[in-house]
């Protein structure tokens, strides 16, 4: 049975995608910063 709200599936996909993308981008940025700190320390 489809929901009462038409086009609801699009919003669901949007919400899940936004979640995945934001978490992935933030995770990547933390890892990148950690990597650069480690490199900096190794080269000092």
């Amino acid at each position: 049975m489809n929901g009462m709200i038409p086009g609801g599936w699009n919003f669901v996909v949007a919400a899940y995608s936004v979640t995945a993308i934001v978490l992935a981008i933030y995770g990547a940025s933390v890892i990148a910063r950690l990597r650069s700190e480690i490199n900096r320390r190794n080269h000092d």
Partner: protein, 231 residues
Amino acid sequence: MNVDNNRFPRLPWIILGLGIIFLAIGSYIGLFVAPPEALMGQVQRIMYVHVPTAWNALLAMTFAFVCAVIFLFKSDWKWDARMEAAIEVGVVLAFLLCCQGAIWAKPTWGVWWDWDPRLTTTAVLLFAFLGILALRKFVDDPARRAIWSAVATIIAYVDVPIVYYSVRWWNSLHQLQSSPSTVSRQFWLPLRMNAFGILFLMTAFIMLRARVASMRLEQELVPPPALGETA
């Protein structure tokens, strides 16, 4: 990954992996296995990520508050680093929460923002903690930066329940609509899995980010001999 101590620590990676797995499974169940809800249909599925994100955002902010208090008592830099990490992760989760909330609100209420007290409080919290991150960027002295942002974190966190209740009163005079509804028992599995998934991800992020903060602090507190001035 190499075995060297200065390379990436192992534990956060394990936790990160666990988080991704839990989140993937929980989302799969929430998207394809759980039946659509009677009234709202497919849109209800958004709750399976929205509610876990909300729990964890509040958890991150609470942890930031705890770190702030501990730092003011013990003056141990470790807690300043953890606080910085918790604030940043909390900001990311709060931002995510507002996005999810808007995406949920549009099909449900027809508007992108419905002044739901919880979401509105999240928005205020988001700005408050963004301000604290900005404060940290503009203060150069590490000791002051740590103390001031700890004080600001305590003040902001104490405000959270006050903001929530005042928005609820303010809102109740105008609207009768209910907030994102509670989820009935049969839908708990994807909710719990995602909650753990995001919890593990968040923990890993905070651990890694705190490590970054610690390393930066180390460099600030013991600069190369050529510079002279020390804290």
